[in-house]
Symmetry: C2
C-alpha cells in the first residue's frame, strides 16, 4: 500500500518532466531565445533555471554530487540576460535530460523510509521539530516548481 | 509512517492554495480584469477556472456534490472573453475559498486506504488495470495544475 502511494507520487513527477521534455524538444536554438511574454524570461533561461534547480536536488535528496554547478551563476543567482549563457542549447538540453534521468532512476529505488528521511538542506534540530521537512516534501515542491514554469513556457509560441 | 507521507502531500497542496489566496486577495476588481500577458487570459478567468476545476474535485474524490457548477460554461467549456462572467469578483473569491476549504478539510480526514481508492471519473475496469488512477493521483494532478496557473498569474503586475 505504501508502495502504491510512492508510485503515484513519482508518476506525477514523470508526467511533468515528460511534458517539459516534449515542449523543449520541439524548439530549436532560435525558438529557445523567445521570451515567454514581453520583457519576461527567455525559454532558454527557464530551461537553464529548471536544470540548475533539479541538479541541486541530487545532493538534497542524497542521490549524489551535482552534475552541473556551472549553471548556477547564469540561471539561479542572476536574472535573465545579465550573464551570458554558459552552454549552447544542444548541451543544455543534454544536461536537462541527464539530471532528470539521474533523479528519476534514483527515486524509483527509494523506500518509504528513504522518502521520509531529512533532506540535506535542513538541520537535524529543525527536522526533529518538523518531520515533514523530508525528501518527499522537496520532491513535491520541485514538481510544483516545474509545473509553475511550464505554465509560463506554454505562453510562448 | 504512512500518515507522514500523506501529511506531506496535503502540506504541498496547502502551500500552493495559500500562495494563490494571497495573490488573489491583494487584487481588487479592476486588477482582476488584467491579462497575464497581451491577448492571454484575464486573472479573473483564471480565478474562475481554478475554482471550477477544484469544484469538480468534490465528486471526483468522493467528498460530496459540486458547489458551483454555474462556473463551468464561462471558465471550463469556453475560452476567456466569450461568455460573460456569471459572478462578481467578491462572490467568485468567496466561491474559491469555500471550495478549497471543503477539499482541504475532507482530505485531512482521508486514510491511506481512502487515498488509494479509485476516483469517480475512472471505470472499475480501468482502475483494476491501473491502480495508480486513484484519488491521490487526482489530488497531485490538481496541485500541479494550480502551480501551472500560478506561474502565469505572477506575470501580471
Amino acid at each position: 500500500m505504501d508502495e502504491l502511494v510512492i508510485t503515484t507520487v513519482v508518476a506525477s513527477w514523470k508526467l511533468i518532466i515528460n511534458r517539459l521534455d516534449e515542449r523543449f524538444g520541439q524548439l530549436d536554438d532560435e525558438q529557445l531565445q523567445q521570451q515567454i511574454a514581453p520583457n519576461k524570461n527567455r525559454l532558454f533561461y527557464l530551461l537553464g533555471h529548471l536544470t540548475a534547480v533539479h541538479d541541486r536536488m541530487l545532493p538534497m535528496l542524497g542521490i549524489g554530487e551535482r552534475l552541473h554547478p556551472e549553471l548556477d551563476e547564469a540561471y539561479l543567482t542572476n536574472p535573465d540576460r545579465t550573464i551570458s549563457d554558459p552552454l549552447p542549447a544542444s548541451e543544455l538540453k543534454k544536461a536537462w535530460s541527464e539530471v532528470n534521468r539521474a533523479i528519476t532512476s534514483a527515486v524509483e529505488g527509494f523506500s518509504v523510509a528513504d522518502w521520509l528521511k531529512k533532506h540535506s538542506a535542513v538541520s537535524e534540530e529543525d527536522f526533529s521539530q518538523n518531520p515533514t521537512r523530508n525528501r518527499l516534501a522537496v520532491f513535491l515542491n520541485r514538481t510544483n516548481h516545474a509545473s509553475f514554469h511550464t505554465g509560463q513556457i506554454v505562453l510562448a509560441k
